[in-house]
Symmetry: C2
C-alpha cells in the first residue's frame, strides 16, 4: 500500500530524502545548500549537477508526497467495504504519511509549502484537487447517511487541520499507537 517516496539507490533521491529531513528540522529558509551538501557528503556547488535550484528540491519533495498520497488514498478507498471504513481511510492515509516513512516529506508539505514562489504553489494546489475531491465525496455521503453533523467542506478543513497538527506533538514511539490515534480522530467526528 505504501511505497517509499525516495529510492536510496539513486543519488538524487538520497539528496531529496536528506533535504526533507533537514527542511523539517530547521525549516526551508534556515537550511542552506551548504547544509544539504554536507549531509550527503558533497561540495555545495556539486548539488547543482543534480538539481537546478534550491526551490527545485523543495518542489520535487512536495510533488512526490502529493502524488503518493493521492494514489494511496484512491487505493484505500477502493478497498474499503463500507462508508465507515472509507472515513477511516481518509484519516489513516494522512496520519500514516505524517508519521510513517514519509513523515519528513509530509511535514514539509504541510508546514513549508508557502516557501515556494507563487506560481509553483498554484501548480501544487492543482495537484491536490483530486485528493481533496475524494475527501469531499466521502464526507458528503457520511452526512447524508447521518454519520456526521457538520457540513462536509467545513468538516474537511477542521479534520485536515487536526491531523496536520499532529506532526507537532504526536510521537509514534510513545504510548499512543497510530491505530488509536486514527480511531480517536474518527470518534471525534462521528455523531
Amino acid at each position: 500500500m505504501e511505497h517509499a517516496l525516495f529510492d536510496p539507490e539513486t543519488a538524487k533521491d538520497r539528496l531529496l530524502a536528506a533535504a526533507a529531513r533537514l527542511f523539517r528540522q530547521k525549516g526551508f529558509a534556515k537550511t542552506t545548500v551548504r547544509d544539504l551538501a554536507a549531509e550527503v557528503g558533497l561540495q555545495s556547488g556539486s548539488l547543482f549537477h543534480h538539481v537546478r535550484s534550491k526551490d527545485d528540491i523543495l518542489f520535487a519533495i512536495l510533488e512526490r508526497v502529493i502524488t503518493g498520497m493521492t494514489r494511496d488514498l484512491a487505493a484505500a478507498l477502493a478497498a474499503a467495504p463500507d462508508l465507515r471504513s472509507r472515513m477511516r481511510a481518509l484519516i489513516a492515509v494522512e496520519l500514516t504519511y505524517l508519521h510513517g516513512p514519509a513523515a519528513d516529506a509530509t511535514a514539509v508539505l504541510f508546514h513549508d509549502w508557502r516557501a515556494l514562489p507563487e506560481d509553483r504553489q498554484a501548480q501544487l494546489l492543482r495537484g491536490r484537487d483530486a485528493y481533496f475531491e475524494m475527501w469531499s465525496a466521502v464526507l458528503t455521503e457520511a452526512r447524508a447517511e447521518g454519520l456526521t453533523r457538520v457540513e462536509p467542506m467545513i468538516l474537511r478543513q477542521f479534520l485536515h487541520g487536526a491531523l496536520a497538527w499532529t506532526s507537532f506533538w504526536y510521537q509514534p514511539a510513545g504510548e499512543v499507537t497510530l491505530d488509536k490515534l486514527i480511531d480517536d480522530a474518527l470518534v471525534m467526528i462521528l455523531r
Copy 2:
C-alpha cells in the same frame, strides 16, 4: 473583552502591527527589514532605534498574542455559566483572535514561531502553559460529564490544530459567520 494588541498612537506599536501584517503575508524569512521600513515610511536603519533586532520584532508580536489570549480566555471562562459555555469559550477566544483585529499577529504565532532561536521559543512555550492548562481543565471536566468521548490531551491537540488551520481557508467576509464556525467546531467534538 478583546483589547487591541497594538496601540496606533505609539511608533513602536505601529511598527509591530505592520510587521505582523507582512510576516503573515510573506512569512518571517521572506520579509526583509527594508520591507518593514518601507511599510512604516522609514529608512531601514532607523528601525533599530526602536528595536534591537529583527528577531526582537517577531518575539514582541508573539508575546503580546500569548498574554492577550491567556487574559481573554481566563475572563471568558470566569463569565461562562456552565460547562458547555466554557467549552464554547475555548473555541470562541481562539477563533476570535485568529480572525478578528489580532488576526495577523495570531496567524504569525501559529505558523512562524519556529523562526525564532530555540531559547526564545522555550520562553514563549513557558508563557503558553497557563493557557493550555485552562484547556485541559475544561476538557477533562467535559469528558467526566460525558460531553465528549476522546481523551482530553488528544482532543485538545486535535481541536487546537483544527482551529489553527482555519487561518488558511476561512474568510470572515464570506458566507459563513464566525459564530457558525464556532458552533460547528463545538458540534464536532460533542458526542
